[in-house]
């Protein structure tokens, strides 16, 4: 395959990574932005989403589409509920102290991971995608007879991958609208801006924090359900999304949702393209270097506000 089609294919793979990464990283960003909690267990909520998706789709077993549709609802709800319980039992008792919550979420990470290993086992398990037709993509070239349409061999993408990208975009637009227009979105933004004043104006921040932690975990789980038909469920699968989410959130600007989405697109696309042309390890090295540069030259991130 020539460079052009190869590059476009790599870009589409990168867009898939970006879509799932954006969902996962926005979850982490919302939690940090509003609660000031660095949730080290975020990757495990992602992993739990994938495991629950496998469990639900296996349990239902009628048609892959029905099982998957149920997983798409059940996994984020179950993981979100678990996060709310974790918030009540652990984070609230620590009064959301930024340092102690880091240690607490590290503990949470190992609890979730080891409990999953004990119950789900060490094997990677696949989830059947609800649909997976391959679409051949055309390519345009200038030949002797002018512009020609050609169909390079192996140049295509599955309908499922396209659907994942579209679904992630819909969820992110929906989330943006929810934050900008809904009453709870206003409460969340006010709490993010000034926790003390929010309380002085009747906002029960403990309850807001619980729901925000649940929302963040639910978004990670949703990202995992979308990716699990492509990458399989495994009890150690949370590490990479956690690392990439932190990279994206730092580059985008801590707590900035537009920054997080733009950084996710940047990192996702570069990850896809570099992985295809060079190696996935090189893609991670470059992303980590980018974080180092951002921390040195623009510590507040590309779209974050400089603190006074």
């Amino acid at each position: 395959m020539e460079f052009g089609p190869h590059f476009l294919l790599a870009t589409l793979e990168g867009a898939l990574t970006a879509a799932v990464l954006a969902l996962t990283a926005v979850g982490l960003s919302v939690v940090f932005g509003i609660m000031r909690v660095v949730n080290v267990a975020h990757g495990e909520f992602f992993m739990l989403g994938a495991v629950i998706a496998w469990f639900v789709s296996t349990l239902v077993g009628v048609h892959p589409a029905i099982g998957f549709a149920l997983a798409l609802v059940a996994a984020p709800v179950a993981v979100g509920a678990l996060a709310i319980v974790a918030d009540r039992l652990v984070l609230r008792r620590l009064n959301y102290d930024p340092e102690r919550t880091i240690v607490a979420t590290i503990g949470l990470l190992y609890c979730i991971q080891q409990l999953t290993l004990m119950t789900f086992g060490p094997d990677a398990r696949p989830v059947v995608p609800p649909f997976n037709q391959r679409i051949a993509l055309p390519w345009f070239e200038f030949g002797e007879q002018g512009l020609q349409v050609i169909w390079p061999w192996g140049f295509g993408i599955t309908t499922y991958k396209l659907a994942v990208i579209a679904f992630a975009v819909i969820i992110l637009v929906g989330l943006w609208q929810f934050l900008a227009r809904s009453r709870f979105g206003l409460v969340m933004r006010a709490t993010q801006l000034d926790r003390e004043m929010a309380q002085a104006f009747g906002i029960p921040i403990d309850r807001v924090y619980g729901l925000v932690f649940g929302l963040g975990a639910g978004l990670a789980a949703l990202g995992a359900v979308l990716i699990v038909p492509i990458r399989q469920a495994h009890y150690l699968m949370g590490h990479e999304p956690l690392l990439l989410s932190f990279i994206v959130v730092i580059i985008g600007g801590l707590g900035s949702i537009p920054g997080t989405i733009i950084a996710a697109v940047l990192i996702g696309l570069s990850d896809g393209i570099i992985s295809v042309f060079f190696s996935p390890t090189l893609a991670k090295i470059i992303a980590t270097l980018l974080v180092a540069f951002v921390l040195v030259f623009r510590p507040q991130g590309l779209f974050g506000l400089r603190s006074a």
């Binding site: 009453r183 206003l186 409460v187 933004r189 006010a190 801006l193 000034d194 003390e196 004043m197 929010a198 309380q199 002085a200 104006f201 009747g202 906002i203 029960p204 921040i205």
Partner: protein
Amino acid sequence: MLRLDRICASYGRVQALFDFSLEVRAGEILCLVGRNGAGKSTVIKAIMGLLPISSGTIEMDGKRISDCPPHRIAGLRIGLVPQGRRLFAELTVAENLEIGLMVRGSGAETREMALELFPRLRERLKQVAGTLSGGEQQMLATARALCIEPRVILLDEPTEGLQPSMITQIRNAVLQLKERNVGILLVEQRVDAVLELADRVCLMETGRNVEEYSRREVNAFPALLIDHLGI
């Protein structure tokens, strides 16, 4: 109406209030006066539940509120205009007012009432609060507190850093609130404002009550106030 009885409060190991007492009555302006660091803003924080008290009681209409979580205090119709305004700077003017309205589920009528006092805000409803001028920000901070339909309002240095025309507007708003029978606790450093507005003056120093004067006393002997503030 709002009564603080021998309250003590600390920031970590540093005690900031020592058996401090005061009472705010309906339709009355009580000025809380003291030098910087005397503990005036700490009193306001304690009333709003933002700083837990270690002893004493805070009551509203005879009901103990010092055990209430902070978010319940506003629901008792105690409004706050904090020092430095502390608006939700990235929210619009309308959204800041909406936060105030949410406290009691109040509607457009309450918002109109707040905007009547500060008509300039009506033209700025879609503007981000952080981009308003200092005076407009103070108006918004006051209007936001009015949106909870307060029975008691706590104003912490509302005229700090404002130009004279703005000070007049804020003063007029305070007087209108008094006419509506709202109890007002005003923390103020400007002697002329205290002399003009106060029905009673409570002097405090290093977290303790020093003296309380009536309007007549401070107007007859403004030196009492001036000496205390060290101006």
